[in-house]
């Protein structure tokens, strides 16, 4: 087992463990903290995949923004202290569990079956000065998605404001 594999296994365990803890946690706040653990694990995987930029972005956006936002939302709801958490799940949680685990089994099975049929390239991607490459791509090939993404953010901003603003 190489160092890389070791890190991968550790990060994956952290990630999946946190994810499981997240969906089973009683308190929403604690669940959100576990979610942050998952995000961190994902960031590590990104870095393992030579996508350091994305790893950082993952931390910046997911942990720094989305997770904080969710924590905020939790603190604006009744069970802010997490002292009296009601039932975690809706009545149909066993069904959800069955569905999710079946789906997991099916996908994993299919992935195993697909095995090495993926058209895996021999070379690792060229990753010198990644930020610059990405920036250039955003201004050329990916210009339209870039612009649309700004539209999405603007709309979300306006929308969130209209919906929550106290008058």
């Amino acid at each position: 087992m190489t160092l890389e594999q070791g890190i991968f296994i550790l990060a994956s365990l952290l990630m999946l463990g946190s994810a499981l803890a997240m969906v089973t946690a009683r308190s929403m706040f604690v669940a959100a903290l576990w979610m942050i653990g998952t995000f961190a694990g994902v960031a590590v995987l990104f870095i393992l995949l030579n996508a350091g930029f994305l790893g950082i972005v993952q931390i910046l956006i997911y942990i720094g923004a989305i997770a904080v936002l969710i924590l905020f939302a939790i603190m604006l709801t009744p069970d802010v202290m997490g002292l009296k958490p009601g039932p975690r799940y809706t009545g149909q949680w066993p069904l959800a569990a069955v569905m999710a685990s079946t789906l997991a089994a099916v996908i994993v099975l299919l992935l195993v079956r697909a095995g090495n049929d993926w058209h895996i390239a021999d070379a690792a991607p060229n990753v010198t000065d990644f930020a610059v490459q990405l920036g250039e791509a955003f201004m050329t090939t990916y210009l339209l998605p870039f612009e649309v993404a700004s539209g999405v953010l603007l709309v979300a901003l306006i929308g969130a404001l209209v919906i929550v603003r106290d008058e």
């Binding site: 099916v106 996908i107 299919l110 992935l111 079956r113 697909a114 095995g115 090495n116 049929d117 993926w118 058209h119 390239a121 050329t140 090939t141 990916y142 210009l143 339209l144 998605p145 612009e147 649309v148 993404a149 539209g151 999405v152 603007l154 709309v155 979300a156 306006i158 929308g159 969130a160 209209v162 919906i163 929550v164 008058e167």
Partner: protein, 497 residues
């Protein structure tokens, strides 16, 4: 990479006009203190009309097909541009009074209406999974906001919340499917994906077992947008909670966008899997129209009724895609049937929603029982309702008949007789609940002291447009059939720009 900005801005003129319009409306809203000022809707109208004009000009000039930054400016896109912007125009006309009476944020509303139109157009033209997903979510997020626009109305909040939760889950599923598709082919471009599956099958056998589930995931996401059973649960709640003009837009605008995506993904990227998706679509279509119609029978709220009705309609439209056959002559190819149906559906369904808006604006009610005696209170409104319902039920000589004809024709031509029979029987079932509303309007006496239903001018105009459109397509479908015939061509190999 050299970009010709003049060409680009011409090809993307409708999109650019919508974007600029939306931004200017936002700024104007800051400058204008008066929420009821006609400047804002006027400017929005201007933006929409100019975008519509630009889109129509493209159709006339027949610009060369090119893919710009993952956006395909092909006839199919032109078609959905016209459709999306047309819907927005009608919706705008009815929104003005409605929103002014219910919300303080009118400027933002108009701006969002332009954004959501832009999203529809982008979705229709997206030619790359990345842009497709992004535009799709653009449309979704904008729709969530619009549904939840009446922030002090618990129903609006609730509808938006449910819409969002369902939407987010199904778009995550779709995204997973997209990622598998990308992984299998190594590209996100639809045509390149299709090209990948033309390589000898022996080299990719294992991938087939990946791509078929990916297809299912994709259908889940897109099925949500067009409210296919079983991804439809959000629709009645969102429609009921949403401001009624927004519900009109959802039922037509974003639904057509969903069909555009479905057509592009299935026909452009996955023609190699046609036998798989055809059977899936057949099942989904049967489920959708049957369940939609059956549940609609029990509705007492106009908006929920229309929600279920539009679920059922989605089932009919889906028949066209299920019956797609690439080489068939017009209109046996299925896709053109979908397009004709969508045009007919635009006028009809927006029309019926406009009627509901007018009624709601005048009486404050959306209960079907309150429509009693409408013929006494507003004969014209009642009469247009009849035409719209006939069209929804697919009776001649209305637009809905032409649409159903085209779709059923493709189904018969493809040999999917069972599907066709289920389809027509469903349209018979639908008559029952459509005519239940008509029954209220015509057979029941108006309540004591009920006043005439007043119709603001802009709403009346919108109603008239959809009414004329519905009948025009019914009586003289030729230009619309030609439009559909023209638009069903889309690019197989795009030059990159």
């Amino acid at each position: 990479m050299q970009i010709n900005w003049a060409d680009t801005s011409f090809l993307l003129a409708p999109e650019i006009l919508l974007t600029v319009g939306a931004l200017i409306v936002l700024v104007l809203d800051l400058l204008i203190e008066d929420d009821t000022s006609p400047v804002l809707p006027g400017f929005t109208l201007l933006a929409l009309v100019s975008a519509f004009g630009a889109a129509a000009a493209h159709l006339v000039t027949g610009v060369d097909d090119v893919a710009l930054f993952m956006f395909a400016a092909d006839p199919l896109t032109h078609f959905f541009r016209l459709l999306g912007i047309g819907t927005a125009l009608l919706v705008l006309l009815v929104s003005v009074n409605y929103v002014q009476a219910r919300s303080k944020h009118t400027g933002e509303f108009y701006s969002l209406l332009l954004w959501v139109t832009l999203a529809v157009v982008l979705v229709a033209g997206a030619h790359d999974l990345i842009l497709l997903y992004l535009a799709f979510e653009f449309l979704s997020i904008t729709s969530y906001v619009l549904v939840g626009w009446l922030r002090d109305d618990a129903r609006s909040n609730e509808g938006a919340m449910k819409y969002l939760l369902f939407g987010a889950i199904s778009s995550a599923l779709m995204l997973y499917g997209m990622s598998l598709l990308y992984g299998a082919t190594g590209t996100t471009r639809l045509t390149e994906i299709a090209a990948f599956f033309t390589i000898p099958e022996t080299q990719i056998t294992g991938l087939y077992s990946i791509v078929v589930p990916a297809l299912v995931f994709l259908l889940a996401g897109i099925g949500f947008k067009i409210s296919l059973v079983p991804f439809h649960q959000w629709a009645p709640d969102a429609y009921e909670g949403a401001p009624t003009p927004v519900a009109a837009f959802l039922s037509v605008g974003s639904k057509s966008a969903g069909f555009a995506v479905l057509a592009r993904v299935l026909l452009e990227a996955m023609p190699a899997f046609q036998e798989h998706w055809t059977s899936l679509l057949v099942v989904l279509s049967i489920l959708t129209m049957t369940l939609g119609n059956l549940v609609a029978l029990r509705q007492t709220n106009m908006k929920r009724l229309l929600a279920y009705s539009s679920i059922a309609q989605a089932g009919y439209i889906l028949m066209g895609l299920a019956a797609y056959s690439a080489g068939a002559t017009f209109p046996a190819d299925g896709l053109s049937g979908v397009l004709i149906y969508l045009v007919a559906y635009l006028f009809t369904n927006v029309g019926v929603f406009i009627g509901a808006v007018i009624f709601e604006q005048a009486t404050g009610s959306v209960a079907i029982s309150d429509y009693a005696g409408l013929i006494r209170r507003s004969p014209w409104l009642a009469f247009t309702f009849v035409v719209f319902f006939l069209s929804l039920a697919g009776l001649p000589p209305t637009a809905g008949f032409v649409g159903k004809l085209a779709v059923f024709y493709a189904t018969v031509a493809k040999g999917l007789y069972f599907l066709a029979i289920i389809g027509v029987l469903n349209s018979v079932v639908s008559v029952y609940y459509y005519f239940n509303v008509i029954r209220q309007m015509f057979f029941m006496p108006a309540p004591e002291g009920a006043e005439r239903v007043r119709m603001p001018a802009s709403m009346g105009l919108a109603l008239a447009i959809s009414f004329v459109g519905t009948l025009l397509i019914g009586f003289y479908p030729e230009p619309f059939l030609n439009l559909a015939n023209m638009s069903r061509d889309f690019i197989s190999a795009l030059p990159l720009l």
